[in-house]
């Protein structure tokens, strides 16, 4: 039976949304899976591990409209390992961005496609999540679960596809909700809304 390696590419992996998306995938996948987290020191180890899997799923956040440095660093190392290897896993991704428009992930997904093409990897399924910072704490979490189930099934069936999900809110409602989200975040740290809104830098 094929196996899935889930690779968390969030720099705050242990507390990340990506971790939760990865856990959902592991729970819905009919295939056996293992999860690893990219750290500064384990690049070579992960590259070696990948060779034992038929599917790799990178789960990570959008950073500055593209691949976060933590994952970019790993891809650069993996590319060197790939030149010496003949076997190739299917390359899948679950990318989540903070903003409500899932399409803000699109350029990043094109970069992944470019990476695959350059390294003769077959791009498989992609799940693009908008409002990925907040959605898991809302009733809309069920939509994410539903999409990750489809994503998981597409891997088993080799029917690769691009999926997209975000919170079904108007932009106005999203902005209101996100403002409240961040005010509460600050409050937990003892920081007021006015302090958070400072215009001075440093």
């Amino acid at each position: 039976m094929e196996k899935i390696l889930i690779i968390n590419g969030s720099p705050r992996a242990k507390k990340s949304n990506s971790k939760q998306y990865g856990e959902l995938l592991a729970s819905y996948a009919q295939l056996e899976s293992e999860t690893v987290v990219i750290t500064k020191r384990n690049h070579a180890e992960i590259c070696q591990k990948i060779t034992e899997y038929e599917h790799v799923v990178f789960v990570f956040p959008l950073y500055a409209d593209s691949i976060p440095a933590t994952l970019l660093q790993f891809l650069i190392v993996w590319e060197q390992h790939l030149t010496a290897q003949t076997s190739r896993p299917y390359f899948h991704a679950i990318v989540n961005c903070g903003f409500i428009e899932a399409m803000q992930n699109d350029v990043c997904i094109e970069m992944l496609q470019f990476f695959c093409q350059k390294n003769k990897l077959e791009m498989g399924s992609v799940l693009s999540i908008g409002s990925g910072e907040a959605i898991l704490g809302t009733p809309f979490k069920v939509f994410v679960q539903w999409k990750i189930r489809q994503f998981a099934r597409s891997l088993t069936q080799h029917r690769f596809k691009k999926y997209e999900i975000t919170m079904p809110l108007t932009k106005k409602m999203y902005i209101k909700a996100s403002t409240q989200y961040w005010i509460n975040y600050g409050k937990r740290n003892g920081v007021t809304q006015a302090e958070m809104a400072t215009m001075t830098i440093e």
């Binding site: 409209d65 350029v107 902005i175 958070m196 400072t198 830098i201």
Partner: protein, 171 residues
């Protein structure tokens, strides 16, 4: 303020000019962003990692003209520039507004910028197209009023940068 932010050494010296800076990322120690949101919710506008990035993002913020010089990697910025751009989020607030109908963060005291992005290396057409789309997206998040992308080879880089800097001086 004018800024040349580069991932490689360039023969530039703005020490006699009060309104221009040249920063070579290759000489700085900059760790990757850890995504803690401390700069939005704990010590607003200050990154919790007190390395060289804390000297760079205030300069990015106050510059009205920027030239970013970076090698490309998979149609995006290579690691040094990407790492720095991620560390620049203290210049924004956590709060979100609409820009051209899309969600983006509220900028702190950051003037609109005229940006020139010089991407160098052995860049194929497909990679150029991806990078152009990336820069167009960045324009919203990085407060670019106008932006121009120039592709060049590593061999031609110095000449291209010098031409751009000379054009600045005239403007």
């Amino acid at each position: 303020m004018k800024l040349v932010l580069s991932d490689t050494a360039l023969p530039l010296d703005f020490s006699q000019q009060a309104d221009a800076s040249y920063i070579n990322l290759d000489e700085l120690k900059i760790a990757t962003c850890i995504g803690c949101f401390g700069c939005w919710t704990k010590t607003p506008s200050k990154c919790v990692i007190r390395d060289d990035a804390t000297k760079v993002y205030p300069i990015i913020a106050k510059s009205e003209h920027v030239i970013y010089v970076s090698k490309l990697q998979y149609g995006g910025y290579d690691l040094p520039m990407k790492t720095m751009l991620e560390r620049a989020i203290p210049t924004q607030q956590a709060f979100i507004r609409l820009v051209d109908g899309e969600a983006h963060h509220v900028q702190r005291n950051v003037p609109l910028k005229a940006a020139t992005i010089i991407a160098y290396g052995n860049i194929c057409q497909q990679e150029q197209a991806i990078f152009e789309r990336l820069v167009a997206r960045n324009a919203h998040n990085m407060n670019f009023a106008s932006v121009r992308v120039i592709f060049t080879s590593e061999a031609q880089l110095e000449t291209v940068v010098m031409e751009e800097v000379a054009a600045w001086k005239k403007s």
